[in-house]
Symmetry: C2
Subunit: 349 residues, 2 copies
């Protein structure tokens, strides 16, 4: 994410929007130095070994599991769970259908913490196994939650862009920009839609296959996706449990994601209110002095950006201090600015 | 948060650490302008109406509910829940003790999505009521999760500081600094400790009061705090349910918070790896040009900070663009910097 756009000059977009106003001034400044080649053609003078490996692989590779990895972990979890609970099936009591299916169903009901209680451990061994599986299941659900829905939503976004592109004559880049601005709202509505579909499908299924009353079916659906699982209504037929295996997993994740997006929307609106307050409040002499990072009596563009972003809470004093230490070290000729001479000095030393 | 430290000069701490090195240079620069009074005595020239009200009240007051507000919401939720389920107690079947206690116990078991099933709704009305209470309960649990544990941990931190202060001869500010650096790790261990205590207390209670075997008691504890709630073991006595009302609420929140801190620790270590990479990689001529915000051929301290923080992913191009627009508007004399003359011009217009 970070490495994507740092290769462009920092002020690219800002210059576009205030181009009319600032053009004369910028052109004047550009005369002070020659831009002999476009940015992308500049060959770095110092080539670091680390830079030849993509950043994403070196840092995120091991620590940040991809969607594919999460899917594999889920498969392994369900496979091991099903096998173990299949082997100890005689130590589990309750409403039983097909042996292998029941083991998978029990693993899913435990992992998602729905815990109907239509199948319950009946020995010390199975009780402790259930404890182990519910804790690891919770961790796994958290992992899925941080990956699966985003993946789903991004897929949906591409479809949405295509659909809008066909109807209107706006370029996909414009729609992407629009999506970026309202991203959280889009995600929220997409997940809400998916949740609605899952609730309706679940209710219809329970009425038709498990032969429940409509209210009972809806009650069972709510009880399941919230992981409440009183257990008075659950999936008791073989067909029901095949359906349940897929439906419970998607339903519980979908509802949790719905609540997460709701919180995100709330945080965003709060952040926007703060940003708005910081940007609209008037600058005072006092602010001017506080923002004057290099203490030359005036506040440059970069100093202003840092001051305002700090006020918005987007960056902290710790962040600034950390980078400033690095700056002091790089500023070998102690001129207060970094220039080509500093880099040449660094290379020669 | 944001307004706390913006009133200090941005480079205060950095200057302290590199004081020896940069002292001569800074003193030289200070001569260029007179500092007639300390920062705090500077009276703002422009007094905005909004500024007389504390930022925290104007912005966070309505949008960001405080711990106290969350506690009130919880009380209202439990009060309304208990009253309603007390009134419809004849439409709830299962293992019953004292009528009022059962209604409260049922509300808690539903709200936390534990859902043992030892008490289950027995009519369409109570089923729909349970649905309503589990959804609102989930939202409320999310709200509590974002508040309660932090409050608890901060209380604990103060105690920790006091304890360390008495033993060693280091100032509390130093311990606070130490705590700030390893904050997430401290939080994680504190919640883990609390969780351990809750598990042990719960198990002992279930063995002694509910007369369960040790394994069964532990199994019931795990089944409860994970909100699994199979329901084959639950609180069936009056004393048990009084205990359960408090224990279930703290236990489920504590475990959820434990998982949240674990995720936070993981994110932080990833972030640290990225920050480290950004700070240790060598600057090139190419970086120099990209970081040169005002295009004067050299990179000042503030420009360097922005470039590096952007590379770390802490700030985005959107953040910078937004503030830059504001800067262009404030820079009335179009000098490329903000000075006292800009503010005077802004006041007169």
């Amino acid at each position: 994410m970070a490495s994507d756009d740092t290769n462009e000059p920092l002020l690219l977009r800002s210059q576009d929007t205030v181009a009319q106003k600032a053009k004369g001034r910028l052109n004047q400044r550009r005369l002070l130095r020659s831009r002999s080649a476009p940015h992308t053609d500049h060959a770095p003078l110092v080539i670091n070994d680390k830079e030849s490996i993509p950043l994403s692989e070196t840092i995120f590779g091991n620590l940040h599991p991809s969607f594919k990895k999460v899917a594999i972990i889920l498969m392994v979890y369900l496979g091991v769970g099903t096998l173990i609970f299949y082997l100890v099936r005689n130590q589990i009591k309750g409403m039983k259908t097909e042996r292998f299916l029941d083991a998978l169903y029990f693993t899913i009901v435990t992992m998602t913490t729905v815990g109907y209680g239509d199948l319950v451990p009946n020995s010390d061994l199975t009780k402790l196994l259930a404890c182990a599986f519910v804790f690891s299941g919770m961790a796994l659900m958290g992992l899925i939650l941080s990956k699966a829905a985003d993946y789903l939503v991004e897929k949906q976004e591409v479809l949405l862009i295509k659909a809008m592109h066909m109807r209107q004559k706006v370029g996909p880049s414009e729609i992407l920009k629009e999506l970026e601005i309202n991203k959280t709202r889009y995600k929220f509505f997409l997940v809400f839609l998916l949740l609605l579909i899952l609730v309706i499908v679940g209710t219809i299924f329970l009425v038709n296959v498990e032969k429940l009353e409509v209210i009972d079916a809806f009650y069972c659906v709510c009880s399941t996706i919230t992981t409440l699982g009183y257990g008075d209504k659950s999936f008791s037929t073989q067909a029901g449990r095949i359906f349940a295996v897929f439906w419970i997993l998607t339903g519980t994740i979908c509802l949790a994601q719905f609540f997460l997006y709701m919180a995100e929307l709330n945080t965003e609106s709060r952040q926007k209110a703060l940003v708005n307050w910081v940007l609209t409040r008037k600058m005072t002499n006092y602010d001017l002095e506080a923002a004057d990072l290099d203490e030359d009596g005036t506040v440059g563009a970069a100093e202003f950006v840092i001051y305002k972003l700090k006020e918005m809470g987007k960056i902290s004093q710790e962040d600034i201090t950390l980078v400033m230490k690095e700056f002091e070290e790089l500023d070998i000729d102690q001129s207060g600015t970094l220039s080509v001479s500093d880099i040449t000095l660094a290379q020669s030393s």
